[in-house]
Amino acid sequence: MKHLLAPALAIARKDLYAEWKTKQTITTMLIFSGLVILTFSFAFDPSNQAVSALVPGMIWVITIFAGILGLNRSFTTEKQHDHLHGMMVAPVDPSGIYIGKFLANLVFVLVVQVVSIPLLFLLFDFQVPAYSSIFYFLLIIFLGTFGFIAVGTLLAALASHAKSSEMLLPILLFPLVTPVIIAAVQATRLVLTEQEGAAAALSWMQLMGAYDVIFFAAGFLLFEYVLEV
């Protein structure tokens, strides 16, 4: 554990601190999400009730594409001065590097969601059907994002070995995250648009939970081999 969690926290802390200093990744992600919200708010009439059905999908469009911007940078920046080798020659379990990177990426996407989702609700004048839905909504956001980042972190590390890593990552990622994204969009739609949506969304949440466990475990176990590529 000494060689797993302590280095993982050090790596996550390093990434967050580097981002705090440079603000390169989070700014790009926020600009992208702002543009999506602005474009859709002009493309559709927010006063039209039917438009509110688009909101769950838009939340996940923002999450996926802003997330990919962050994931791409997550490992390409580590390539610049062979930083990954710097971590590998230290007494660090390779899975610790995965956990550290995963935590930092998760925080970046959650920050983007914290800013963009309220803005989306505001511009589309979106009303949550019941206050109890908010808890389930937040849980769904977390579960969906967790799964997306768990797979994304592993594949971003793999893609970073290629010359066209920014092009390769979406190609590798989209087929694998399709199940969790379908579940996340469906569950979000149910809790945000139906009075008793939480009960109906339960099976989708269970699917996301199972997906998260499986793919986080896969990333944890396989990361060592990804570093060796």
């Binding site: 050090a10 440079t22 080798h85």
Partner: protein, 233 residues
């Protein structure tokens, strides 16, 4: 201290190392020489744990090298072609990050001393992106010895250093050697070899072609050894 037995490494269809048998004793300073592509850096990376050998065995302190033996990893200090340093961070921030990876408790005193030793005290809070190649190399040296390793693996460590930094670095290496640190240095700089190292190993086409004690030998003799023309005793 370090021993490799019948070490081979094949990358693609190319055999980089062809059965390297080498033993380096505790406290020795060994130069690994050879032309480009001879396999020097590959051998060093395998010992450091960055590459897996295709076959053969590695022993550290008499124990077989295991990938999940982090105590073995902790005794190694590695300085590669790249600095491993983060441009946005200052020397202090960079070294603090690596101190966390190496589980160094209360590293501030050690970090300040090292920064002073490598002559970067005046720049210790400046971001590394504003540093020259030589300054980055000085900091990379500090990073490699931050955790007081027993074995120091150096891949062309004098690259980019000015004359003042070269003598400062050599002094640092000689101090470490006096403390019993084993030093293995891949280099093309014969002058520095004669200052720091006791022994030179020449790799040719993935095999050890020469292995000689060089203490007290002139630089011209080391050059002849490299060329394969030295008269050995």
């Amino acid at each position: 201290m370090i021993e490799t037995k019948a070490l081979t490494k094949t990358i693609g269809e190319k055999m980089i190392l062809r059965g390297v048998n080498l033993k380096v004793n505790k406290g020795e300073a060994v130069a690994v020489l050879g032309t480009n592509g001879a396999g020097k850096s590959t051998w060093l990376k395998i010992v450091a744990g960055l590459l897996k050998p295709s076959s053969g065995e590695i022993f550290l302190k008499g124990q077989p090298r295991k990938k999940d033996d982090f105590e073995q990893q902790k005794v190694l200090g590695y300085l590669g072609h790249q600095s491993f340093l983060y441009d946005a961070f200052s020397p202090v921030e960079n070294l603090k990050f690596f101190a966390r990876l190496y589980h160094i408790s209360s590293p501030d005193t050690r970090i300040n001393k090292l920064i002073e030793d490598v002559g970067l005290a005046y720049f210790k809070h400046e971001p590394v992106r504003s540093f020259s190649r030589g300054m980055i190399q000085r900091l990379a040296i500090a990073r490699a010895i931050l955790h007081k390793p027993d074995i120091l693996l150096l891949d062309e460590p004098h690259t980019g250093l000015d004359q003042q930094a070269v003598s400062l670095f050599n002094r640092l290496l000689l101090d470490l050697k006096a403390e019993g640190v084993t030093i293995i240095m891949v280099t093309h700089d014969f002058q520095q070899i004669s200052t720091v190292c006791d022994r030179a190993v020449v790799l040719r086409k993935g095999r050890i072609a020469e292995d000689e004690l060089i203490r007290g030998r002139p630089v011209s003799w080391i050059h002849s050894l490299y060329e394969g023309e030295a008269a050995t005793s």
